[in-house]
């Protein structure tokens, strides 16, 4: 039974196969017939041989294969070497450059900077203040820059400083300390920076926490790129912050915004050192600390400095415990005195406490403190 079934289906298969072939042949024959009908109609209507040309014409229009000539037989750079005389400046210009030259020469084309040229010509004759205002209009049209209105504009170099071509090559050189380029070239205001002289301390701080801020030697402007801008190093950024906001306020960009600047006189080196140590221990949880009170102290330290915090004194070393229970002066003042009486490591601890105050949410105080406890 099974064999019969199999052969049955096999036969069916062959039948199906035969059927498929038949269908296919029908289709092919349909296609052939269709073609024959088309050709026959074309012949009878007379358009079958229309796409053919006679032999003579075929020779005339054959593809040309000679050097110096295209396939149609035309010379392609025939007019390249010809020169024309400009009617405006009477110079001899190459033919292919003639049109752009005319554009610039007559000051009538799209890119000819005629307004700029006109302005420069007029500024030669008028006073400086007037030309300053005109400069503002033009420059503000071109690009956005912060202190441009206030910055004194240095006057011309020989070339037109506002021409589009110039701006492209010079735009990215602000902030570089190399003096390879003629400093004159930086006088125009295509710069993408901020002039720190014109900003108040609050603005400075807010800018410095979001932007690179490194002051370019040439333009005296702050870099407006991100904190990780490749043109400047972290050292430069730190130096700028020290310079602009005072030595105690030189927290790095990756820390938080700074608290009020007390003008505290802790040495910078210790701050930096402590900061480095903080960075290393930032992943330790506060619960690991031996002195748990210090963590609460830290959270408390976020409040304004003059608040009473009896527990602050536990921050300092155990060695100088007796001196801690004093009145509530400024916390820093307390720590100062305590520190000065304490052991050598206490000063760094004090700096640690200071910087912990400044870097509040991110860095945990206790673990590093516990290190110094051990040292003591």
């Amino acid at each position: 039974m099974k064999m019969e079934d199999m052969s049955l289906s096999g036969l069916e298969n062959t039948k199906l196969e035969a059927l498929a072939h038949d269908v296919y042949s029908d289709l092919v024959e349909d296609a052939c017939l269709g073609l024959c009908f088309e050709v026959h109609r074309a012949v009878k209507q007379g358009y079958f041989f229309l796409d053919e040309t006679d032999q003579e014409s075929m020779k005339d229009f054959e593809i040309v294969d000679q050097p110096g000539v295209d396939i149609f037989g035309q010379v392609y750079n025939q007019w390249k070497n010809k020169e024309c005389v400009c009617p405006n400046c009477s110079r001899s210009i190459a033919a292919s450059r003639f049109a752009p030259h005319l554009e610039k020469c007559l000051g009538m084309g799209r890119n000819s900077s005629r307004i700029a040229n006109r302005r420069i010509a007029s500024s030669n004759n008028t006073s400086k203040s007037e030309s300053d205002q005109e400069d503002n209009d033009d420059i503000n049209d071109n690009d956005w820059s912060y202190g441009s209105e206030k910055k004194a504009k240095k006057r011309k170099s020989e070339k037109n400083p506002n021409s589009p071509r110039r701006s492209k090559s010079l735009k990215h050189k602000n902030g570089e300390l190399s003096s390879n380029v003629n400093p004159e070239l930086y006088k125009y205001n295509y710069s993408s920076g901020i002039s720190y002289e014109t900003l108040g301390p609050e603005e400075l701080r807010s800018i410095l926490t979001t932007q690179c801020g490194v002051v370019s030697e040439h333009t005296k402007k702050m870099c407006t790129r991100s904190q990780r801008c490749p043109q400047h190093t972290d050292e430069q950024r730190r130096a700028v912050r020290v310079f602009l906001l005072g030595p105690s306020a030189s927290a790095l960009p990756d820390s938080d915004t700074m608290l009020e600047n007390d003008g505290y006189d802790a040495p910078d080196g210790q701050l930096i050192m402590s900061r480095l140590q903080w960075d290393g221990s930032s992943d330790i949880s506060p619960s690991d600390s031996a002195s748990s009170k210090a963590s609460t102290n830290n959270s408390e330290s976020k409040r304004p400095k003059k608040k009473k915090k009896p527990s602050t004194l536990t921050l300092t070393t155990t060695g100088s415990g007796g001196e801690r229970d004093k009145g509530q002066e400024r916390e820093r003042g307390d720590r100062d005195r305590v520190v000065s009486g304490g052991s050598g490591s206490s000063s760094s601890q004090n700096a640690l406490a200071l910087s912990s105050r400044k870097k509040r949410p991110k860095l945990p105080v206790p673990p590093a403190l516990s290190i110094y406890d051990d040292l003591n």
Binding site: K15, S25, E29, C32, L35, C36, V39, H40
Partner: protein
């Protein structure tokens, strides 16, 4: 048993004819035949078969004279070669599609 074998090995029975007719009808009704036709036309043009056959037609015309050539002349002269000139890939693809259709709709 003998009857069964007879049934199996007979080729052009009425049953088979019936089946063929039914399938052809289905092909047409479902529009599959048209689709297959279009597919074949497109493929033949793509592979240059059409131009080849046109050249053959030209030869037939030049042979018979442009005024007196008839459809039958063309068909007789061109169709056998046309069938042979279909490329294998096109043939295979078409057969595949037909088989698929048959497998789906033969019962």
């Amino acid at each position: 048993m003998f009857n069964r074998f007879q049934f199996l090995f007979q080729t052009n029975t009425s049953r088979e004819k019936q089946m063929r007719a039914a399938i052809n009808q289905k092909l047409i009704e479902m529009g599959e035949r048209e689709r297959l036709k279009e597919l074949l036309r497109a493929k033949l043009i793509e592979c240059g078969w059409r131009d080849q056959l046109k050249a053959l037609c030209k030869e037939v015309i030049k042979e018979k004279g442009i005024e007196n050539v008839t459809v039958e002349d063309l068909v007789a002269g061109v169709t056998p070669k046309g069938r042979a000139l279909v490329p294998d890939s096109v043939k295979k693809e078409l057969l595949q599609r037909i088989r698929a259709f048959l497998a789906q709709h033969s019962t």
